[in-house]
Symmetry: D2
């Protein structure tokens, strides 16, 4: 037996003993564990509304909503994360479908959630007993541990998207879940929820109200979002460059008690691009899911290019260069895990320099 | 010469030597310097709008507005602080009067300012070149070091109140002041200022806008304030006790980038009392100035009782027990120096327990 | 074909179409995705120093340290996370072994790291060019993105444990890594590093030094840790109950610029139990790794009981009830991912009430 | 009567009516109220230890320490603030003198205090019952509302300086004061106080201890201060410019639970200048008091120049340009009101650029 063979034998034995002792050496795994830059398993991907919505409809015919399954929600599963219902490693995104007069039962969980409505109306989500109307263009929050149930008060089905931090909370083993009462706590269908009546006044807060980690304002109405975006673009036209980039307006949904993100673990934003505008190519650490609310655009995600239109959703993995070019005026909802990276000091951004940006 | 006399002589000499050496002993001054509880020199006091406004009018006839004097503002001088134009030891409050077509010239200063409008319209305050309409019920901010000028575009005079932290900044020797251009930077009279168009959308902030110490939203319109107060009282009627006390609603003007006070050194609030409601007697460390916006009330300030109505202003010194009883529905604007005490760990509050208070 | 069969066929088709469209329904996965309470895949586990150290020694004979593999570090692989070199879902823990006169080359990465020394001396870790001696009982930090290399200046091997947030950063796709120069930047072996000379004075900070997310003090010496623990127990004996529990002292390594955790993503602590003391059973959300520094103890982790002694390491998964009973006086080093949960609002703690706890 | 005369009469009447109505116009007072830059009434001034100490001694002979007067403290009275025992508009500074075996009785107050010892030993200050030895070079804290008493256990008198925020708290009407027991709560004279035993370990904090607004470490010993300054200068000599300026080292006393100032309302620092070093001329908003601990220096305060030596104190008013030139190595203690300005957004600094400053 030569020295080299002896060495190899000794090494084989060593690795076998590592394995038996539940040990794994760094020197054979370093480049995978600690790559030079992020190598996400998740891939850039587009889910088409034209495919999603009919599948949701078919589910509506075949699958009842009820206790246990809890929601008729169908999750986007990133092909790079096979077998997992994760749009990205941290974000869960689904289409939820509620048939005429149906109710999704009450529960709460430590996972943070929101709903964004691409179309329709007639459903109220009761958050801690406060009925919140859901209508086209609205963002509705369900903070961690808030009881919630949904009821469709109309004779038509309604679908929307749900965003949650399920993958993050699962990886952190931080999920708690409890069922609520089986019967809806309220069947009221007010035009305006109590949280909006209390908190929906710009810059005004009830005296004595404590700061809260998640926004106490839990409904962000389309009319306000639309007005804010319109104003940004008009101000830029008037010579006050308050947009993100020329022709690219954007608002962040925020918590009026802190000014920070509306939700603790997810960032929620709405973007408007004028026809013909192309955003500066950009990479950030962390992942995002976008949904086209209106218009058409071409999205470049790394090496891939996709044409997207109303309802289409796409996932942007960490550190994937991305850019959006609007064919028509394009309105897009976006959510991401950026607050997690901000909180942990892991934020990184690379962006082609943009002229004229200034927000006062 | 007896021992006692010797001692007294020695003491006299000692005190005389102290004086010569610019020294003052504690043991003779302790009880004044460090009282058992605050002994403000400022006194509870009411200034009547019926007296203020005519004096402002007479000033309008006799005193030009111009460079040097800068503003036709007449300050409330607390009788307990003789010779000083201070409403309280930290707060300056004045009626400002601008005649038809008059302009108050541009300047900026480290002192923080706001305007609150009890009546009238037609004046625009240009803050950093952004023209802000002033109308009944509005609160308009002028953060520290922001250039500002006022112009009356109408054929009628207009008066409002100014609040500043002049006494505080003077005691801290922190005042800087610079004159701006003599001519107005803009004569535009837009209905809505740029800061409102950018920031006046509930819970929405421009992506990329940095946090700011003072609110970037610099106009708080009456319609919003009124709606917020109305909603609080209605919610309480519906069984959701979101008011400060039964029948007592209140909003704080806040900075949407932080959720904190709209201004760094002054707290600004608006209170509404239903007819017949009496607020729980309350003492706080720090002083405040209130103005009746509408209605009538009886104010108890320490041992004093005053009946107040629209436009009347009153000063509440530190630690002075106060309570307000509404004869009619009463709307009151309030500003105070509480952020100073919060920041310095000096806040103290004594309040008779109140049932049913809860703000979510 | 019966209705039921038809339905089943339709359902099968639906699920097949989901799969083809990269979709996964919630109703079949809800209980796994959103359990009633955390169900960690990671298991409670003990790695024995008596097994670890000889394997590290054998690696020292067989495996060179060099560029690419970078470190002769052997990671604890939780049996519940098969194939992954993760002690817990968020924490990487390893024994690192450096032979006489060996050097581990320079690199930096966004992953945060520390070293804790159970025995030995003679190695200096150069952090951003600042040589830091490593000796028994010391905690040495390597903040995110700080260049570091290790050199053994002695004729004897040295081993210690490394803790990193590799699993967390990998799941977040936030890892960046760069190689440094191949040759050590310095071969100096000062007794005290520059960061200690600048920052190692209790309660004193250099004027003008900015706050930093990670501690600028990067060496926490055993003499200080030992003295702090000794004092806590003595103070308790004198009637000032400053311990965590009777007979249980504990210190947290902190960042002198903020008072917070020494590292951004990991908490580091040292615990001392008097002989006979048993800690109150406790569950927390988040995972931890402990190492016995000295003494013997019995550890209860969920249903399992282990006897541990000097050098042994054990993993505590999320929400696993755990308690430690000291047979002799027992000193234990602990690190955890708690700052992540604190930052994301996911902290939960269940602890049997403990008498007499008070820290001033 | 001419028009001019009529006008003047009308104006006189107006001003008289203002006065009667407790009103003061801005236009006649603006330049005093809102100067172009701070115009402090306080003046630069030096108090000589050679004058102070003998006066304190004479007080020791003539004036008993006891209930009511509370302390044999003699305050520096800035000649620009006649009749007031204020070193600056916000800071109170005094020499306190305690004869052999004397006791200063227990009390507490919302005013924040500290002691700095220029010479001597033998006195213990009991802070909330924790006896704290006072020795040359030590800084000892008395946070707001902490009960404290002083006792001289030796046969020799001892003197030190007291710093308090009395003027600030008085202007804010925020002072509360209560007498404690007449008899000392403890006569123990431990070498090390309990707070030091619990908190005096660099970078280590008791697990479970909450953050506190004032430092829970209440004794900062000279040996640590001296070592920190020595290290800064040595590091600079070695090529690591960690000093404030070449030859100018400085430490700030900090709160280990937050990293911020040791006290809420006052900044405390220690500076060391090498012989021959002259600090860059500097202006800041806010005032400070310095005491020479050792050595000799020439101080330039605005237009004035003073030579100072051990024990001498000098006041630096707001925005007064100042510079210190060391004749010998000079050690100086400094306290200021800077935290107030930082908290209120009023900080301003003008400093001649300095080469080579860098603190890591």
């Amino acid at each position: 037996m030569t020295t080299l063979e002896q060495d190899q034998t000794a090494l084989d034995e060593l690795y076998s003993d590592f394995s038996a002792a539940n040990l794994i050496p760094l020197w054979t795994t370093r480049s995978d564990l600690m790559p030079l830059s992020p190598r996400p398993a998740a891939v850039p991907y587009v889910w088409r509304w034209s495919e999603l919505y009919p599948l949701a409809q078919r589910s509506g015919d075949l699958v009842p909503v009820g206790r246990g399954g809890e929601r008729r929600a169908i999750a986007l599963a990133n092909p790079g994360l096979p077998g997992r219902p994760y749009a990205t490693p941290t974000l869960w995104a689904a289409i939820q479908y509620l048939g005429p007069r149906e109710t999704a039962p009450s529960h709460h969980h430590t996972q943070t959630a929101f709903r964004f409505v691409i179309d329709g109306e007639g459903v109220w989500t009761n958050v801690e007993g406060d009925p919140v109307a859901m209508r086209r263009g609205d963002l509705l929050l369900t903070p961690s541990w808030a009881f919630h149930e949904h009821q469709n008060t109309s004779d038509r089905p309604m679908a929307w998207i749900d965003g949650l931090d399920i993958p993050l909370v699962q990886q952190l083993d931080a999920g708690f879940f409890e069922f609520g009462p089986d019967k809806p706590g309220t069947t009221a269908t007010p035009d305006r929820s109590r949280n909006e009546r209390l908190w929906g006044h710009p810059g005004l807060r009830p005296i004595g109200a404590a700061d809260q980690p998640s926004s106490p304002l839990m409904a962000y109405r389309w009319a306000h979002t639309d007005a804010a975006l319109t104003a940004q673009l008009e101000l830029a036209d008037e010579g006050y460059p308050t947009t993100l980039e020329p022709g690219h307006a954007g608002v962040r949904y925020s918590n009026p008690t802190t000014g920070g993100d509306a939700l603790v673990t997810m960032r929620t934003e709405f973007h408007r691009l004028r026809a013909g505008v192309r955003t500066a190519p950009r990479r950030i650490v962390g992942s995002a899911v976008w949904q086209v609310f209106d218009g058409e655009a071409t999205v470049t995600l790394g090496e891939d290019r996709f044409t997207v239109k109303k309802g289409d959703l796409f996932a942007v993995p960490s550190w994937c260069e991305h850019s959006i070019e609007a064919s028509t005026q394009a309105d897009l909802f976006r959510f991401s895990d950026e607050p997690v990276y901000d909180a942990l000091g892991l934020t990184r951004l690379a962006q082609q320099a943009v002229e004229g940006r200034e927000v006062r």
